[in-house]
Structure formats: structure tokens, C-alpha cells
Amino acid sequence: MSEKIRISSNVNAANDLVARQNRALFARKKLPSLNMISSPGSGKTSVLERMAARMGTTLAVITGDIQTAFDADRLTRAGATAVQIETGGACHLTAAMVQNALTSLDLDDKKLLVIENVGNLVCPAAFDLGEDKKIAVLSVAEGDEKPAKYPALFTRASVVLVNKIDLLPYVKFSIDRVQDDCRKLNRDIILFPLSCTTGEGFEEWMEYCEGLER
């Protein structure tokens, strides 16, 4: 004899539970939160450095990498309040890793929390960390076909930062194609073309961040 037991539970339920706890904490602190996701080398940390120059310690960053605290060090030097997660091999952050990092981060008097995920265009999109919005970063040097090839992130992201636009004269990259593909995947997505080198486009991006609901 055998018995069939109905479960109907999401396989990510354990992660989602912790993500809800993180989300509740951010809400209590009235802190907008972003989960920044991209390939390695697209310029996530450089974007955050420019944001830190404007926001100082009111910008809280949890930054994830396989190894090293290079990014947290860079962001602390740039003026932000930053903590590093070293995953030791995991290719994405989980809600529990973020919850653990939050114990060493004072969220009072912060205006924005950015979770800088491990550089990876695939797995991080599948894990809710408790953030308000996912932000994709795509640099023009990576090629304009990335939203079509890696649709999961661009389907779930609220914003795409099209970074390194100062390199547009040197690479084959169509912002129109990226916008067109992204809108097919996600009609509400917003694109901000910008350059960390020249600062072009940053005013618009900072205005968006300042307008986030608290």
C-alpha cells in the first residue's frame, strides 16, 4: 500500500520565507531596496561608486562575490556603507546570505540599500532576496543580444542600466535593439543609458533612485 500526500509548495519556499523577512525589515526601516544583477565586468561597482560620491554613507551596499572584499573596500573608500559577502563558490546570493549580512549593517539613517549580486546573468534572477526591484546592468561591450539570450533577468527587472555608453563609437551595439527586446519581455521596463567614465546619464538615474517609495 502507498499513500499520496499533496504538498503544492514552491521548491524555493525556504528562500522565499527569508526573503519575506528581509522585505519586512526594509519596510520597517522605510528603506527602498534594489537587487543589482549583471555579468561580471559590466560596471555594477563603478555605478555604485558614482552613487556613493553623491549619497555618502546614506547609501548602504551589500556586495557579493565568490572571493575577496575588493568591492566592499572600493565602495567604502567611495563613501558608502558597505559590507561584503564572500560566497566561497556560489554563483548567486540567497535571501539567507543577505539576512546574515544585514546583522553587520546599521540601516538607520540610510536612504537606499543596494544588494550587488554576484556577477552572473543567469542564476541571481531566480532568487528573491526581499528587494523592491531588480536592476539589470548591461554594458555596451557585452553586445546588444543579451536580453534575447538571457530573458529571465530582463523579464523580472524593473530597470536596465545600459552602461559604458562612452564606448558606443567603438563597439557594435544598438540601444534601440536592447530597448525593443526588453519591452517585448517586460512592457514596464525602464532603460537608463549611462557612463561611469563621463557621468552622462547619471542625473536621470539618481533622480529615479531619489524618487523610490520609502
Binding site: 500526500i5 504538498i7 503544492s8 509548495s9 542564476c123 523579464t155 517585448k184
Partner: protein, 86 residues
């Protein structure tokens, strides 16, 4: 174990089944059979039509547009387990 895996879930069902088997062998010293049902992505178009599609860049079959929202196939769920009586 019966698992329903959506096309947009981000979960590789074969890997999940392999690890379930490994865990059961280690913890229970028994094998586990994992049945995976593939759930296609579903979209709800602004024109009112709801449709299933295996490809993200398939437009609405009715209006040919992309003004749509994901309406299903974005989760991976453990639907049920079947256990033998001892």
C-alpha cells in the same frame, strides 16, 4: 515525488531530481523516483487573450503584440509525495 516545473522558473529539473535522489540515498538509504511535469510559460495579453508559449519572443497569437504579463509557468512546485506503508 511529483514536481511541476515552469519554463520560466529558473530551476533545472534534472539537477533537482538528481540531488533529491542523492539526498534520499544518503539520509534514508533508499532511492526516490522523481516525476517532473513541464509547465509551459503562460502570458496574459492586453488584448484579453491568454496563451501558452515555449519561447519568450513569441507574440500574442491573436493581436501579434507584446503588451503582456507573465500569467504562469514561473514557479517550480513540489506537488505531491507518495510514500509506501511499512
Amino acid at each position: 515525488m511529483s514536481i511541476a516545473n515552469g519554463d520560466l522558473s529558473g530551476v533545472n529539473a534534472e539537477s533537482l531530481a538528481m540531488y533529491c535522489d542523492l539526498v534520499f540515498r544518503e539520509k534514508q538509504n533508499e532511492a526516490v523516483a522523481v516525476a517532473v511535469e513541464k509547465v509551459p510559460a503562460r502570458f496574459k495579453c492586453a488584448c484579453g487573450v491568454e496563451y501558452a508559449s515555449g519561447k519568450m519572443f513569441d507574440p500574442c497569437p491573436s493581436c501579434k503584440g507584446f503588451d503582456r504579463a507573465v500569467a504562469g509557468g514561473d514557479r517550480c512546485t513540489l506537488e505531491s509525495i507518495e510514500v509506501e506503508d511499512e
